[in-house]
Symmetry: C2
């Protein structure tokens, strides 16, 4: 039963669900639904899909996440970055507007769902850690910029395309002659209005005496107002006949049952993008979920989150949607509105289902420029270059990883950008460990503690060379220690003993073992003793299985101080140690 | 001048060159030349090139390496594994036997030389460390098997092809009907004879009273004898008319001046293989050079070796050769024969040039089966599965990397095999560091030394949780420590202080810094102090630039013992510590 509850978290919170939780969840659902209607249409537009796909992608996935997910406030559905990734991936296999495009989006959701589910069942959630915080921050910022530029065409009424900043700018430049002035006016006013709603409306309402809740709800309803006003204007003044592009016919009805395309060819082309979308979506979702859970001292199980998101994506694949994940904006709104359990998500799904059945004719005259404006205003809040300054001050390696991620995402597209970010972080880490810090150490007087002779006032002995190796020894740096000791002992001819203090050596792999053996042979030839100190348990366990310990010409000491006491010969040094 | 000598090591040994060194070098050169003539022809065959390419690849490269290389005994030229890699890479862009094939081999040598030179100038020799010892061992073993199977067609007189074991076996199976019995007899006898020369001839000659040097020279001349006898047999009995394939016309003359093909298309296709060949060739060459240098207490400069090998490959590209590197067999022979300086290599080049001018008509009737036999006997000595047993006993991660390298090299070819070996080693290393060992530690009584409470008898205090983090903290494991401390403090409610002993933390990157900040916030909320001890200098330097140290609710102690003295409250524990 316990095991079952692990896989169906709904069994935990469902048993204690009461009227109070119900009413809180209901209120949250109404607010989130109002916010989601224009947002879902807009993100579908960003993904290159018909507007209803955004609504469909918010219904089944939300319900499935409510059953399998562990976060109580996470709202699952289309989000900006994943929509952009979808457009980029699907754009490579099909033309926008074709049936093949929509089918490929379903396939992408299916593959992504399957991959997430697989990772969850294999408990491989730690893979997401390969995306470092700075790389994520850089990627989100660059994606925000890309998204904003990709929406410019809707705000100007021109037809441009591209998946990188240079492509988008070139394409916009080529089509600049087609600008539709009325579209520009609608788009400009909608953008300005939405920025004002975001920054200025809430303080103003509070000053006018509105309750915090009311002010909040009205602020969230801003995009709905923009949608309503611009739609009415187009309808009243027949602006669609004057070149303003509108959403047009949106089918009325519940999400259809759809089948993703599963030809080996399509799967082959979409597999890598699906893996990428899964990992990015998972990282975004888990960090939102953890942030919200921490506020209420609740816990998230990342491996179960993989299963929840996997189920949600499979749901999207079979109900006319596209890849989804837990979104930051919608989850925060859900949380702030007082959602207590995943049931709030289910009620939101019902609200959206009603909208899909009843309200779609109302958006016929909705100009795409308004949707573009809601996207631009939403994503520009994601753009934050402060990570560049923070990492520059702390670590140049992290800075390089962020800067490369931003530049490559803008210049070569989202997939290359994020993959390079991960690759560069890993390579820089390996590079750092390939030339480890090795400190010559001496005894801090009056203690049994040893520190770097260049940083601390310590006692040393010319016949004993004590080296603290500040890195695990493995193939990337195995030869480094060999060369270093070789050059150190050829410098100091008084040396009779070398002590390697292994307090920071967390691993000795097979290549490093061979290097240690060769160091031992060389020092034996030179009549110098090789000793180890403070070897950790797990490392010692390994070494016991080899003949290295038998061949070692010196000893292994429990502590560096023991080694020093046994080997330091000069009397004055001994005195200093006492 | 010193700087110049760094780039031209010839200026070092050239100044002191004397008659004694000259005569030693001369003797070595004669022995190596005799060995190299059949070997060069054979490796050219293995690479899919006309036989003279093997001789040409041994002339200019040897001279260029003598000028730029740092090893005194290394003999540069065609080697088995690089020949196999060449056949695999060039086979993908051109048909064997066409002019395009030979040009692509020149291009491969050119790209490889350029890449090595670039690495050398940028001092990037450490990149070779990414190939771990076990991966190299596994790769060499698998390559030896592949090479032996690729030569079976010559020993059987059939026409088969393929770059992986399944391909080779299938192709051999299909052509089994074409077997030429006379070829099988020649090939079988030559193989048996060469095995006997390698294993049994030297002991027998010594028993018969031959001097060690004479026995050695006669053993090295074994392949020449096989070549002479089989060539004569074919000529006398007209076996070439009975289906025995022979070497045929080999142009007489010095190496020609050739130009590698440099179309962007060809460069694009050969760039990755060239990088792979460069790195594998460099690793093989440097390990041979280091082994030989260590015996005479000489030194190798890996970055200058890159320049020497780069120059040698560029030389091969412009003189009708193909990629070369320092070979194990030829270098050992050179060393054993008493070579004192790189001049021995230059004399070998002269010997081979004479052979190219005068001796090529003599190999017209040489059966390719004899060449195949010399290859098979040479490469089977490379095959050594003991690395599997050794790594199995020591470290399963290393074992997995070796086993994968062997299986993938045999099953999918040399390029996939070695690239996967590197990738798998790196991923396994990252995986290990993603779940670091964290030991709860206590004071070893009577000392100031702290060890794992599960492995040693130590004193502890219920109000102080001391954790030794056995890994650098970076993005891959940043979140791990957060979760671990969270679960440890929620288990023990008596805990008032957490001390993180950082003796094994060699790096704290930006992601880990954010995790430490969040640990500090959570512990502060719970009224628990967070302290650090034994933070290394380089890590401390970084932390000083952040506000983490200001925000830290506890202290940073020089040693774990200081932290313990200051924080451990219970009197009996304090007593234990005194």
């Amino acid at each position: 039963m316990h095991h079952l509850r692990g896989y169906f978290p709904i069994l935990n919170w469902g048993r204690t669900y009461d009227r109070n939780a119900f009413s809180n969840d209901m209120i949250a659902a109404v607010i989130v639904t109002i916010m989601l209607i224009p947002q879902s249409l807009a993100y579908a537009l960003l993904a290159g899909l018909p507007p209803e796909a955004g609504i469909y992608a918010s219904i089944a996935p939300i319900i499935l996440y409510a059953i399998f997910g562990t976060s109580r406030a996470l709202a699952v559905g289309p989000v900006a970055v994943v929509s952009l990734l979808t457009a980029s991936a699907v754009g490579q296999v099909a033309e926008q507007g074709t049936a093949g495009y929509a089918v490929a989006a379903l396939t992408l959701a299916f593959l992504s769902g399957g991959f997430l589910l697989l990772l969850g069942i294999l408990r491989l959630g730690f893979l997401a850690n390969f995306l470092s915080h700075p790389v994520i921050a850089g990627f989100i910022t660059a994606s925000g910029i890309l998204i904003a530029f990709s929406q410019l065409k809707h705000l100007l009424g021109v037809s441009a395309h591209g998946h990188t900043l240079p492509q988008l700018l070139t394409s916009l430049g080529e089509h600049l002659g087609e600008i539709n002035i009325i579209t520009v006016i609608i788009g400009g006013l909608a953008t300005a209005f939405l920025f004002w709603v975001r920054k200025g409306l809430k303080p103003m309402l509070r000053r006018l005496g509105a309750s915090p809740t009311l002010a909040d709800v009205l602020t969230k309803a801003g995009p709905v107002a923009a949608v309503a006003v611009t739609t009415l204007s187009v309808w009243l003044f027949g602006l669609d006949d004057r070149g303003v592009k509108i959403v047009g016919d949106v089918p009325q009805g519940l999400p259809p049952f759809t089948l993703p395309g599963l030809s080996p060819d399509l799967i082959g082309q979409l597999m890598m993008p699906a893996i990428l979308i899964s990992i990015i979506g998972f990282v975004e979702s888990v960090s939102v979920a953890q942030t919200l859970a921490a506020k209420k001292r609740q816990k998230i199980d990342p491996d179960q989150e993989l299963i929840g998101l996997g189920a949600a994506n499979l749901g999207a694949a079979f109900t006319g949607g596209y890849p989804v994940t837990g979104g930051f904006a919608r989850s925060v709104v859900n949380y702030d509105a007082g959602a207590e359990t995943p049931a709030a998500g289910a009620f939101t799904a019902i609200g959206l289902a009603i909208a899909a059945v009843a309200l779609t004719p109302l958006v016929y005259y909705l100009p795409t420029a308004t949707l573009a404006a809601t996207i631009v205003v939403a994503v520009l809040s994601l753009v934050d270059f402060s990570i560049l300054k923070k990492t520059w001050g702390y670590s140049k390696a992290d800075f390089i990883a962020v800067a490369a991620t931003i530049l490559l995402t803008l210049g070569l597209g989202v997939e290359v950008g994020v993959a390079s970010g991960v690759g560069i972080s890993v390579l820089l880490h390996l590079y750092k460990t390939s030339r480890p810090h090795v400190a010559e150490i001496g005894l801090v007087p009056g203690t049994q503690h040893f520190r770097n002779i260049n940083r601390h006032k310590v006692a040393t002995d010319p016949t004993v060379l004590s080296l603290r190796v500040d890195e695990s020894l493995y193939f990337v740096n195995a030869r480094f220690l060999e060369d270093l000791i070789q050059s150190r002992v050829s410098d100091g001819c008084a040396i009779k003993h070398v002590i390697l203090m292994f307090s920071a050596v967390n691993e000795v792999d097979f290549s490093a073992l061979e290097s240690l053996e060769s160091i031992n042979h060389r020092l034996t030839d030179l009549g110098i003793g090789l000793h180890l100190s403070e070897v950790k348990g797990p490392v010692m366990d390994r070494l016991y299985q080899t003949h290295f310990l038998r061949d070692l010409n010196g000893d292994v000491f429990l502590s560096q101080y023991d080694a020093w006491k046994a080997l330091a010969k000069s009397a004055e040094m001994k005195n200093a140690a006492e």
